[in-house]
Symmetry: C2
Subunit: 402 residues, 2 copies
């Protein structure tokens, strides 16, 4: 049941906000009485408007990489805030951050910064079209690349022309790529792909390395650009780019979410081949050059590197996944955890309408652990061994009662 | 001449950023040696990386409404930062801010928040299409509505399909509206217009009230939506919406820039007619619900109201324009200042390639006043009578030497 304070907020919101809350942060279908408003975050913890505390395993859907208010990030933010944020020009930090991204992400030779993940993915398509002088882009069926008319999951208000030049393939399905390539003919500008298949509400699927290499080879053969959408995965799968461990280098990669530990920033990175086109396209925004999110990003990257954060998140994510599967096995529950260990996705085989996962998430929330019933969770570097024990204590108890 | 520190930054930027700096904040065509990097802002002043101080009459191209670091805005920001910014859900501030916008902006009955002005204008088109089930949007030739493929001023990487449903009219030209309406036939979703014609690089033109009323009447007649792009003008022309003094109410209005005194925020406001469609469309972003920019917006609006900021900016802007024209008249210079007094646009009649305005802006910069040679300037509430005297002292001296 919602509290009085929550019910009053919901009533006021319903009067002045379409759908009460729009978009992915509407919690009305999470579980009955799921809190719609949170007040505070600190480290691995979050508090709803009733003051109830939860361990955070959603991490604001990705942006919180080092826990809320990481002291080193906040210190860098406060230092920059005393100087300036949104000015007539960038601050010198844009140069520092571009150099840093280029040094970290193996395929990248240049960087541009913007605000939304959608800004970066949309600009990637524009750059691919400008670089090739062609139109067609191959996109995976059901993949989420943002909320612009060309990619939003809803067709309300979208004109067919907005998607006239998209051709759909099935993730990890080489034959569907070849079919889409045949359809594109000599008008192929590029192929966009996520590092793995992380479509919301569906079982996740890691990339088949052969599939990734096929995308690279076909882009080379057709003189088209390979675009990696790192918005959700970036900085959790690998420090140097999510496909860097596979040795598959995209021409363009779109980043956001975890880049600045919650401060609003996205980035388009590219290689030499895409550079001239990136110089020619028109790309700008009122807040794209603001210095504070760039200061946050530099600190976020430094903490990640110094604390070997990627390896630590892999370890705690893997222990979390193993623990969940173990608890389910002992209880004979048909749990499935798919996706990358740092972004695990839980569901129960055979359940109807996510009924079991919903009860699971609700039970976790009651016991002070916040997970999503229909979206992958996110591990942060703030989850240490002690917290992981606490998390697994809660999940074990909840599974036992399912 | 650029300083050593500036030249080193430019050289490093050129290596890792396409075009050295992309978009509207590239200063390479401002005047020879125009600073490309600024370090600090405080009140009405800004400092470049060499520590040179300027009075700021560009205000970050609009966002800075109350001067940099306005104490009441910063206090609200710091208070919210100690709680949380980017969370799994919005904070209660989203309700406060939606209520506040709806109470201030006369046509609005609901509000949604996002990051870029482009997010708001693009979503406005989507809502208009969803509300009407039609496709065509009328757009003014040369108007700037953002940096998405449908509206960017450059066609590099833009596919013709991205603009397939746009029909262009000439601002303030009723006949051109009627011609565009005839072309749209029974597929008209809406008309988008700026509060006045503020195309960069061209003489500005206030709206003819008859034209504004004609847009409203034609949208009513055709059951289409009128969209006002307030991104650049919002909160400078009028507190209740830029066309509120004319009595012309849009169905949708897109806001950004000045809304949060430099913190990244935009908004789409709408009336009852557009509400169902706004509920149906998919609109979201990783940082759209962040609480800190909303705290900044609430404080920005409070300061604007308490200090009667719109009237004060109108007075100082009008005095600035009158002073500039007076100085030019005495010297026999063919200066023209167009647009709204709070967003004045200076040029010199008959000049070739903005040669005189460029020398003017350069002369001002040398004397510690920052203005743009090819874009409207922005007045803030931080410009008081004493600063205005200082500004006019500088402009008079520079005009005398042109």
């Amino acid at each position: 049941m919602s509290s009085l304070i929550e019910r009053q907020l919901l009533e006021r919101a319903a009067a002045v906000i379409p759908g009460t809350i729009y978009g992915h942060q509407n919690t009305s279908t999470h579980w009955p009485g799921a809190p719609q408003f949170f007040s505070r975050g600190e480290g691995a913890y979050i508090w709803d408007v009733n003051g109830k505390r939860y361990i955070d395993l959603l991490c604001s859907y990705g942006p919180i990489l080092h826990g809320h208010h990481h002291p080193k990030v906040e210190e860098a933010v406060q230092r920059q805030m005393r100087l300036a944020d949104c000015q007539n020009t960038p601050s010198p930090l844009i140069v520092d951050l571009a150099e840093r991204m280029v040094s970290i992400v193996e395929h990248a030779q240049w960087a541009m910064f913007m605000k939304n993940g959608t800004d970066a993915t949309t600009l990637a398509l524009t750059v691919a079209r400008a670089a090739t002088g062609r139109n067609k882009i191959l996109v995976a069926e059901g993949a989420y690349h943002g909320a612009a008319p060309w990619c939003t999951p809803s067709l309300h208000g979208v004109a067919p022309a907005d998607r006239a030049h998209l051709i759909y393939y099935r993730y990890n399905d080489i034959a569907s790529i070849d079919q889409a390539l045949a359809e594109a003919g000599n008008d192929l500008a590029g192929i966009i792909a996520s590092p793995f298949r992380h479509d919301a509400g569906l079982v996740q699927e890691l990339v088949n390395p052969t599939f990734a290499r096929h995308l690279r080879a076909q882009c080379d053969r057709n003189d088209a650009l390979l675009i990696l959408d790192e918005v959700r995965c970036g900085l959790r799968l690998a420090f140097g780019g999510s496909w860097q461990p596979l040795g598959v280098m995209p021409d363009l990669s779109a980043w956001s979410k975890a880049l600045a530990n919650g401060y609003p920033l996205s980035a388009l990175l590219g290689n030499a081949r895409a550079r001239q086109a990136a110089t020619e396209v028109f790309a700008t925004g009122s807040f794209w050059f603001s210095a504070v999110p760039m200061a946050a990003a530099l600190a976020t990257l430094q903490v990640l590197e110094e604390e070997d954060g990627v390896a630590r998140m892999h370890r705690s994510g893997s222990a979390l996944v193993a623990g969940l599967l173990d608890q389910a096995r002992v209880l004979g529950l048909p749990a499935s955890v798919t996706g990358h260990p740092t972004m695990p996705y839980l569901c129960f085989e055979g359940e109807v309408d996510r009924e079991m996962t919903t009860r699971f998430a609700q039970g976790c929330a009651q016991r002070g652990l916040y997970v999503h019933p229909r979206h992958n969770w996110f591990v942060s570097t703030a989850i240490d061994e002690k917290l992981l024990d606490e998390v697994l204590g809660i999940t074990g108890e909840v599974m036992g009662g399912l």
